[in-house]
């Protein structure tokens, strides 16, 4: 039998950033892998694989036929796919699937108390879960976006490689990947917050989807309370569009990329603060 040790010996670091970072690291390491390899993650992988499959077919078709069009046209085609398919649908629903389950999953699994009984600030817990979600979705969609980018452009052979390494290609790709991360971060924050209030993820999913879709019709102030508003201005290649398509891809109030990134990060911070306040008041009630 050992003797009870007084508290101060256990606390090697006072509550500070270093300790919080170390706790976040432990939590992320604990939880990240299962977000890639669980049954639930299959949906995320399928969402990410869908455009890769389509662009893969496109690549094969292009390899066996006369290559019409141009590299510029292909680049614009990818910009359209990225803005419409990835940002509006795939990353949105991928983040919905992951974000709404980050805390809710612990409630459903009756394991939330494990975290709430640790010497761990609840906002630190929430931040770690958020990071797990953002990393999980970002990794999957980064791979998907990069693969699609190559599959759409690569059939042009040396022209593409020159564009990639000597032209604007690599910069565009990096920008697409950064926007992908920001999109995962933005929608992840939205759905994490909603999941703290609403049990059924379909409800926040539908509400946010409609809100993002009608964003262009909203007053200027309300437009800023959306993720897509900022993402539109961050896309590295503008998609020339008219009519209904323009409503989807053209920013109604163009803003600089720095302002867009800053605005999105500010929005994420506000959403996270709201989530933190909520989780501080959260009680363990697995009957929900």
């Amino acid at each position: 039998m050992t003797t009870a040790t007084p508290l101060p010996e256990l606390i090697r670091h006072p509550a500070n950033w270093r300790r919080w970072f170390s706790q976040i690291f432990v939590l992320v390491r604990m939880d990240l892998l299962r977000h890639f390899f669980t049954r639930r993650a299959i949906w995320l992988h399928l969402l990410a694989l869908a455009p890769v499959g389509i662009t893969g077919i496109y690549y094969l078709v292009q390899m066996f036929k006369d290559r019409g069009g141009s590299l510029g046209a292909d680049s614009l085609a990818f910009a359209g796919i990225f803005q419409i398919l990835y940002l509006r649908f795939l990353i949105f629903f991928g983040s919905l699937a992951v974000g709404t389950y980050l805390v809710r999953g612990e409630v459903l699994g009756k394991t939330l108390h494990f975290y709430f009984l640790l010497p761990l600030r609840r906002d630190v817990f929430l931040l770690s879960r958020y990071l797990v979600g953002v990393i999980a979705t970002s990794v999957v969609f980064i791979v998907s976006v990069a693969a699609s980018y190559f599959l759409i452009l690569m059939h042009r052979g040396s022209e593409f490689w020159t564009f990639l390494f000597e032209g604007q290609g690599m910069a565009n790709l990096v920008d697409y990947l950064l926007v992908t991360i920001l999109a995962c971060a933005g929608y992840g924050a939205v759905f994490l917050l909603f999941s703290l209030y609403v049990r059924n993820p379909l409800i926040p999913g539908a509400v946010v989807f409609v809100w993002e879709a009608i964003n262009v019709f909203l007053p200027s102030v309300l437009q800023k309370i959306s993720v897509i508003y900022y993402l539109k201005s961050l896309s590295p290649v503008d998609v020339p569009a008219d009519g209904a398509l323009a409503l989807i891809v053209v920013p109604p109030e163009p803003i600089s990329r720095a302002v867009a990134a800053g605005g999105l990060l500010l929005l994420i911070t506000v959403l996270f603060v709201l989530g933190s306040r909520r989780v501080q008041r959260t009680e363990i009630d697995y009957t929900d």
Binding site: M1, T2, T3, A4, T5, P6, L7, L10, I11, R12, H13, A15, R19, S22, Q23, V26, M30, R34, T38, G109, K110, T111, H113, F114, F116, L117, L118, P119, L120, R121, R122, Q280, R281, E283, I284, D285, Y286
Partner: protein
């Protein structure tokens, strides 16, 4: 069992008006059908306290449903058992101590720390919950080890502490197996290891003996005793009343969200005036002893045991009874083998105050 009552260390809680009135009028305290609000305790002044766990006028409602109401208790070191039927509020009290739920009104403080401050609370407190779910895929060792990492220990230190705690609950052989494959008793033990691994000063155990085999129960009770001897606050809820007797230094009887009584079990029993105390005496001349005691008017009933090996007395004033008994024994030379109260255990007190026979379920 002792032969003599210790000084009353506790009493039925007069915060509950129905109980207090019943005790004063000499009738069995009724089970409150519609609990009345409690008034502040007259026994212990409740104030912020760094040396105790303090519930200060704590109420908790789940919507319109009462969880606990007007709870004023001060828990001190040693083993304190929360006893009451299902839904009486035991787990609610435990969850409020650990910040899993919050009071609707009033305040809880654990050694001066608010349960809303996990960074300061959980180095002090270990909680073995009744929830039987674990993070997915963890082994027993990982479950304990990971917890220790959050306490600021290095990986190596955490590993040493984890093994120490696992050995303490005798689960070393299974430590590297997944918890999902554990039996109920093994899960109880690994939860216990996790709760004690960081060497807390307060240990909360919600039905900790559930699922344990008799040997493991005995070992676990010995562990609780050892922890209490080290000065820990050990708070246990159990529905097995004879184990409550074995474990507890104090009991808190709770029913329908109200604290019915609290304190040392014999002290609580001595305050239940409406139920005559039963004292068993085994001696060489039980009939003569009974005849001598009746005229002293300290007993209300005497019943000879089969084969006249002794006599069971009922008295409403144990102190007067023992005085008269002592004088008679000295005067008559009756040879006494055993003198033992037979209804100052948790089961009897529970029946008298809460009114349900047998084990609480």
């Amino acid at each position: 069992m002792s032969d003599r009552h210790p000084p009353a260390a506790g009493h039925p809680n007069h915060d509950n008006p129905s109980t207090a009135a019943a005790l004063e009028s000499g009738s069995r305290p009724p089970v409150p059908e519609s609990p009345a609000p409690a008034v502040p305790s007259t026994q212990s002044p409740v104030s912020p306290n760094t040396k105790a766990i303090v519930f200060n006028n704590v109420s908790r409602f789940y919507g319109d449903v009462l969880g606990v109401n007007g709870v004023n208790i001060v828990v001190e070191p040693g083993i304190t058992s929360l006893v009451g039927p299902n839904g009486s509020g035991k787990t609610t009290l435990m969850n409020m101590m650990s910040g899993l739920i919050f009071p609707s009104q009033g305040s809880v403080s654990v050694l001066g720390v608010s349960p809303r401050d996990p960074e300061r609370l959980f180095p002090l407190l270990g909680y073995c919950t009744q929830f039987d779910s674990f993070p997915r895929g963890v082994t027993g060792f990982q479950f304990v080890h990971t917890t220790l990492l959050f306490h600021g220990l290095s990986g190596k230190e955490a590993e040493e502490r984890a093994w120490e705690a696992i050995e303490r609950v005798k689960l070393s052989d299974a430590a590297n197996r997944r918890v999902a494959a554990y039996s109920k008793g093994m899960r109880q033990r690994i939860k216990l290891a996790q709760a004690v691994a960081h060497r807390p000063r307060v240990l909360i155990l919600d039905e900790p003996l559930n699922g344990l085999d008799p040997m493991a129960r005995a070992e676990t009770i010995a562990l609780f005793r050892a922890l209490a001897a080290e000065g820990l606050f050990v708070i246990v809820s159990s529905h097995i009343l004879h184990e409550v007797d074995l474990i507890s230094d104090r009991v808190v009887l709770i029913n329908q969200g109200y604290i019915v009584a609290e304190g040392d079990i014999r002290g609580v029993r001595s305050e239940v005036k409406d139920q005559p105390m039963q004292i068993l005496v085994q001696c060489d001349r039980p009939r003569a002893l009974a005849q001598e005691l009746f005229p002293t008017e300290t007993i209300v009933e005497a019943r000879l045991l089969p084969d006249e090996i002794g006599v069971l007395f009922k008295t409403t004033d144990a102190d007067r009874f023992y005085n008269a008994f002592q004088q008679i024994v000295l005067a008559t030379g009756i040879q006494i083998d055993v003198v033992r109260p037979v209804d100052d255990d948790a089961d009897s007190v529970y029946q008298y105050l809460i009114g349900q026979p047998g084990a609480v379920s």
